[in-house]
Amino acid sequence: MSRIAIEDVKILDSSDLGRGNYRLILGPFGRSRSIMAGQFVHLQVPGGSVFFRRAFSVYDVNPEEKTLEILFKVFGRGTALLAKCRRGDTVNLMGPLGHGFDPPGKKESVILAAGGIGMPPLYFLAKQMIQKKHESDKIHFFYGGNCRADLIEVARIKKLGVKLHLSTDDGSFGFKGFVTSGIKEYLENNKGDYRLYACGPTGMLKAIDRVAQERTIPGQLSLEAPMPCGIGVCLGCVLPLTSGGYTRVCREGPVYNIGEVLL
């Protein structure tokens, strides 16, 4: 049986989280149990007016209910149409796709750096780590947005019991400044060995890449590229590798070791 399924699933719940952010619960999807944090699903936007599928990181799964959740922010046509979907609507889902994060060793101190709508795969990573008995106070979850309303699902992240460090660019909540500034300050004051995982806008990932490489902190980044096929056959989603040549983000990625891809 194939690792990847292509199935019609129902929207079991759709929530408007404010400022263009939405959460969908999708199911039943038999493969939800096997999904690793960092993997994504490729959704066909209903209505037929958007040609390509759209990629979304898996935010959470419920293997008993055979469901999965995604979070998205309205960005263009596809996400605008998805936001209009209602409970009971059907969407075609392909997944799980790509390679997820390599989980850290149980005793490692970990920094999770989430920028805006890059948060979902890191929440899922933290949850899977905790399910595998990683000490929750060794997980430092840095989560930043432009303003307070950008920080969504904060209560749910808190419930994991991780050390949560919130920041906003405009200072309307938490630390004032970029996620990376918060992380740099934390590292100044708390020496030690860390492993770092990040997902967010390209500007943030570039900064994270620098922070990690300057301090030789190992870790991984979840990257993005427009994905026509999502399964590795079109060669459309490539990014340049530091070692030369291109990599297919949908297939070899979307998660890469820090320093592997030229950002």
Binding site: I6, F51, P228, C229, L235, V238, P240
Partner: protein, 303 residues
């Protein structure tokens, strides 16, 4: 049960549904989704003499009912293709058509000669028409060059040779005739149409190659008309493609004269589309009391 099998230049296909070059890689990824033996055949990504990295991203753009691509013929090169990719395809009961691209006639000949001893390469398809690489167009648009290329490849490759035609020409019939004259055993059409998309915020083209190849449902009417015209002008069998996404599209192409079809861009939306299409085509034939897919070929009742 209707018979889906078709024959092209003496090569038997289990069914007329193939996957198009550049949209199914070398089969490895699709093989994770379904058994490739369910396909009539697979046309592998264009290979060149040396490996190519392709164009810098962005390489694709979404358009109305279709897409633009300027991948830039990224491929592993003929050596690695023969060592790894062709070997992988050995275990499937399907036809393998190896698509070949080059900058000069000599390169087509060189690759075809290398493939002569590879019995897994049931046929080769000459990509004269990739709009993203300058030199390819010279052959695609020039009947004399096309004829010469086919003739020289035929000298070194012992099995059937297909010429894949570009729609970006003034008279596709003239090119089709030239390829037939050069000894092509079959023709496939069409490749992508030159197209463009522009970002009005940055004033830049959406592709780093500036222009790209248009494919998907948007090009189907163009492809059908070309199959229709070429069918009337040549004797060799045709393989139709361009925007096919369901069995109805397939029937249209068969009626216009295609013996088989290829599914391209549709694979990006529904990677298992060919499997559904085979099933639906069988049902269509049953429903219409047709004994075989062959009975549809060229049966258009034109005005």
């Amino acid at each position: 049960m209707p018979d889906l099998a078709v024959e092209i230049a003496g090569v038997k296909f289990n069914n007329p549904i193939l996957t198009a070059s550049g949209t199914c890689g070398y089969g490895e990824e699709l093989a994770e989704l379904f058994d490739l033996s369910q396909l009539g055949g697979i046309v592998t990504k264009s290979i060149t003499v040396r490996p190519r990295e392709g164009h810098p991203p962005p390489r694709t753009a979404e358009t109305a009912s279709g897409m633009l691509n300027a991948i830039g013929l990224a491929n592993v090169g003929v050596d690695k293709f023969i060592e790894e990719k062709l070997k992988f395809l050995e275990k499937f009961d399907t036809r393998v058509i190896v698509n070949v691209a080059g900058a000069k006639v000599q390169e087509y000949v060189e690759i075809s000669a290398r493939l002569a001893d590879c019995s897994r390469a049931d046929m080769i398809e000459l990509n004269f028409s990739c709009p993203n690489v300058e030199a390819g167009m010279a052959i695609a648009g020039d009947p004399i060059a096309a004829e010469k290329a086919v003739r020289e490849v035929k000298r070194v490759f012992p099995r059937p040779v297909i010429a894949k035609l570009s729609p970006n020409v003034t008279d596709i019939v003239a090119i089709a005739r030239a390829c037939e004259g050069g000894g092509a055993d079959a023709l496939s059409l069409i490749n992508t149409l030159v197209g463009m998309a522009v970002d009005i915020e940055t004033f830049r083209p959406c592709l780093t190659n500036n222009t790209g190849g248009l494919s998907g449902p948007a090009v189907k009417p163009v492809a059908l008309a070309m199959v229709y015209k070429v069918y009337k002008a040549v004797k060799v069998p045709l393989i139709g493609l361009g925007g096919i996404s369901n069995y109805k599209d397939v029937v249209e192409f068969l009626l216009c004269g295609a013996t088989a079809v290829q599914i391209g861009t549709a694979l990006f939306i529904e990677p298992d589309a060919p499997i559904k299409i085979v099933k639906d085509l069988r049902n269509y034939l049953t429903k219409n009391k047709l004994g075989s897919a062959r009975e549809l070929v060229g049966q258009l009742r034109s005005y």
